[in-house]
């Protein structure tokens, strides 16, 4: 089907979202809670676009809105810009301690107001960490409470038995609010300590013991498998060496 994005006609596939189709054209729609690995959540509303069909137009979240034939999409209008500026302002007010939100606040030319700030807060509740944890299979963290008390945490804020210390949550967090401390081969995350395992080639710490045990259990690999002994860099090198001598 053909759809029009900011005046450019492109071919879109049924089932695709507006955001996915738009990314292929090179036109940028800003997002916060979207990640390629998890798809659209439609929770931050930062990716709002204006969709016109049969003469009537509405504002939708492009990360969850499926394309349909003959729609015309505008990714930036005064109305859309205002929505994004408001979201940037509100999320900054929620998480003023995050450098990411401070930058966004300036970038969107938000105006001062007297909404109450929590000077220490960094989280914008995009839930990417929760999704990452679920995708890893651990599901150790989740959102708890609701409304203004809502936050991401382990059950009872205790060290979680389900956590494998992979730090995928911290990796995916846009605002850098998940704390990972590492010293003396101990990684501390979500109130729990994990022993780091060093790569057998380069000697750098690359995973936690619990993480490797989890991978071994899930993938049913032998204990001497490269995935359980080497970091991603060294695995690549080992593979390259194998390929050098490989001749059909």
């Amino acid at each position: 089907m053909k759809i029009l994005i900011d005046g450019i006609e492109i071919e879109a596939q049924p089932g695709e979202t507006i955001l996915e189709a738009t990314r292929r054209t090179g036109i940028h729609i800003p997002t916060l809670c979207y990640h390629e690995a998890f798809g659209g959540q439609g929770s931050c509303r930062f990716c709002m676009v204006e969709v016109t069909k049969n003469g009537s137009s509405r504002v939708v979240a492009s990360c969850t809105y499926p394309v349909n034939d003959g729609i015309e999409v505008k990714t930036s209008t005064p109305q859309i810009d205002k929505i994004r500026r408001n979201i940037a302002m509100l999320l900054y007010k929620r998480a003023p301690n995050s450098l990411f939100m401070q930058t966004l606040y300036k970038e969107y030319l938000c105006t001062e107001n007297n909404l109450v700030e929590d000077p220490y807060e960094k989280c914008i509740l995009c839930r990417l960490c929760v999704n990452a944890c679920a995708a890893m299979g651990a599901s150790a963290i989740s959102t708890v409470m609701r409304g203004t008390d809502k936050r991401v945490a382990t059950p009872y804020d205790d060290a979680s038995a389900a956590c494998i210390g992979c730090a995928a949550c911290a990796e995916v967090c846009p605002t850098g609010c998940i704390e990972v401390q590492e010293d003396n081969n101990i990684r501390r995350i979500w109130n729990r300590d994990f022993t780091m395992v060093a790569c057998e080639e380069c000697g750098k710490n690359f995973a936690t013991r619990e993480q490797l045990a989890y991978i071994a259990d899930r993938s049913k690999q032998e204990a001497d498998a490269d995935e359980l002994r080497l970091c991603t860099n060294c695995r690549r090198k080992v593979l390259a060496r194998k390929l050098e001598t490989f001749n059909g």
Partner: protein, 166 residues
């Protein structure tokens, strides 16, 4: 309030509640309601058992338990006060009632007295605006309250101030 491990016969009661339902995600709410009714709150051990039984991560069950106001993670008192703090009751002085309960029983909203006799919760509207300010004590409505009235209600249910502690 500590959420201590359940004692043996409570564990059996818990199993009996959970086993009434098939081990599927969609029964979590029903299971939690039954647990809450039986124990007057959701003990940690019960949430863990529910998670294991339904095959849902503990973090998600905990997320649900904290989301709904109907559930409490700390033991509620034998007498549970729900003080209406909706618009009408608020204007008619519900804060006086809340303050009086707090100072008499030495608890804040959401807390329970050490002897587990009383617990306090504020709610948004109990639909009793005509008799505001009102509160529910274990579901029974007490209308037109003031500071003296709430002292009487506390006395009626055996509050510590009135020497009628069970």
């Amino acid at each position: 309030m500590e959420t201590d491990a359940l004692i043996t016969n409570q564990s059996e009661e818990l199993d009996a509640i959970i086993n009434k339902y098939p081990g599927e995600k969609r029964y979590i709410m029903a299971i939690m309601h039954d647990i809450s009714r039986h124990f007057n709150y959701l003990p940690r051990q019960a949430l863990e058992a529910t998670a294991q039984y339904t095959g849902v991560p503990f973090s998600q069950v905990y997320s649900m338990a904290t989301f709904y106001k109907a559930f409490s993670l700390v033991p509620r008192g034998r007498v549970h006060f729900k003080v209406c703090d909706g618009t009408t009751c608020h204007i008619k002085g519900s804060q006086i009632i809340i303050d009086e309960i707090c100072s008499r029983l030495n608890i804040k909203p959401g807390e329970t007295t050490a002897d587990l006799q009383f617990s306090l919760e504020t709610v948004n509207c109990i639909g009793a605006c005509a008799i505001a300010p009102a509160l529910l004590a274990n579901g029974k409505v007490h209308p037109h309250l003031n500071a003296a009235g709430i002292r009487q209600v506390i006395a009626e249910y055996g509050g510590p101030e009135y020497g009628k502690k069970e």
